[in-house]
């Protein structure tokens, strides 16, 4: 229920929060993101994520605002719970542990970005962007009533492709596809052991001030 409240609150903020600052033409936008895990993350949590949000700030520049620089902040959650009848046995040495596993990852990217726009400022604007920075990743495994937790900040990047569709006033609907890649860390685990990275692909839809 907490997550539904968060999602609805963010949706409301998305609708009202997309606002270009008229004086500097700096655009602020929010989006709701669906994500699909890939690579090590997929082998750890093989479920799509329906809980992801991003906050973007961009300052356009150049003729017809064809380029922009800014920052991106995101929040993504992934989880997988074994079925009620599914248990996993882990053996280490002379000890065996059996229980239902619940795996959870949340990632908070904090990146700077550069974006190049096509089209005209009054119309539909496809764009390419590159985000680079760090991502805070927290990974947990619950088995029985016990929880193992690991968290780390890793260097990461997020190339993206998107399109901004004009709506009303100075707000545009923003649709983007982002691929989140990061360095592996000894503090992150997957089926192959430690040293995992947490890549995922996100499809986002939201609002942003027109560039």
């Amino acid at each position: 229920m907490r997550y539904r409240t968060m999602a609805l609150t963010a949706l409301a903020l998305t609708a009202i929060g997309a606002a270009p600052a008229a004086a500097q033409r700096t655009s602020v936008g929010m989006s709701y993101d669906w994500s699909s895990p890939m690579g090590d993350l997929k082998s750890f949590v093989n479920n799509d994520s329906w809980l992801g949000f991003t906050l973007d700030v961009r300052k356009p520049a150049g003729p017809d605002n064809r380029a922009a620089a800014g920052a991106t902040f995101g929040y993504y959650e992934f989880y997988q719970m074994d079925g009620a009848a599914t248990t996993t046995t882990i053996n280490f040495g002379a000890t065996a542990v059996t229980g239902q596993k619940y795996r959870h990852v949340f990632a908070i990217p904090m990146m700077l970005n550069v974006t190049g726009y096509g089209g005209r400022s009054s119309g539909t604007r496809p764009y390419l962007g590159l985000n680079a920075g760090v991502t805070y990743v927290k990974q947990t495994v619950d088995i029985g009533i016990y929880t193992l937790t690991s968290d780390v900040v890793v260097v990461s990047a997020m190339p993206e492709i998107g399109v901004m569709l004009p709506t009303t006033g100075r707000t545009a609907m923003n649709i983007h596809l982002r691929y989140h890649i990061s360095f592996g860390s000894d503090n992150l685990y997957s089926s192959g052991g430690s040293g995992a990275s947490m890549p995922f692909l996100s499809l986002g839809i939201g609002f942003m001030g027109k560039p």
Binding site: L8, A15, Y32, Y79, M81, Q100, P166, T167, M173, G206
Partner: protein
């Protein structure tokens, strides 16, 4: 333009309505069974004895809050698993002094209370109460132990060392059922294929 706005709102609303993650407090999903053994222990034996009473571990001076309804199920399931592995039971007090292996089952419970900071907001987000307002919840965990000694091994400091110990641990937010207890004990033995009478 307006249809873009409407489409975005509808799609976002659909995604947001699906963004609800499950609570895990459904009792049995928290069950955990762990077994460990002495890797030098000799499990190849002919006979065993099972203590005829399930030990209820309680704090000194406190009452026994655990039901004994499931004790016969516990003993019967341990016995069935040992028999299926090829051992022969020697019942009664004779078995405690003559059987190769001795087993005992025990249960315990613990109650925990967790406190967490909270806030409460009335309708229209008017009048919020922030910390130090706090909430709490209480949960009880139960544990079932099955332990095995090898009577053929000389005691150490007058105590017979364990060669196998298995524990089933879980939430007791619902009354443990016979099937839950049976499943747990069966899992203990599934985890321990080395418990076998035949060399």
């Amino acid at each position: 333009m307006r249809k873009h706005l409407l489409a975005a709102a509808l799609v976002s609303a659909a995604f947001a309505s699906g963004g609800c993650y499950p609570d895990r407090f459904d009792g049995t999903s928290y069950d955990l069974i762990a077994s460990t053994h002495d890797s030098t222990g000799n499990f190849h034996a002919t006979t065993y004895a099972l203590k005829d009473t399930v030990v209820h571990l309680t704090d000194p001076g406190s009452g026994d809050a655990l039901t004994r309804t499931l004790d016969p199920t516990i003993l019967a399931t341990v016995r069935a698993n040992m028999n299926s592995r090829g051992y022969t039971e020697i019942a009664g007090s004779t078995g405690q002094t003559t059987a190769d292996l001795r087993l005992v089952a025990a249960v315990s419970s613990n109650e925990y209370t967790q406190y967490y900071w909270d806030y409460y907001c009335g309708i229209y987000w008017y009048g919020c109460y922030y910390p130090p307002y706090y909430s709490s919840y209480t949960y009880t965990t139960g544990s079932l132990f099955v332990a095995m000694q090898d009577r053929r091994v000389p005691p150490v400091n007058a105590k017979q060392p364990l060669i196998w110990l298995s524990i089933a641990n879980g939430l007791m937010n619902t009354t443990p059922s016979a099937s839950r207890v049976t499943d747990a004990i069966n899992t203990m033995f599934t985890q321990s294929p080395y418990i076998d009478a035949t060399p």
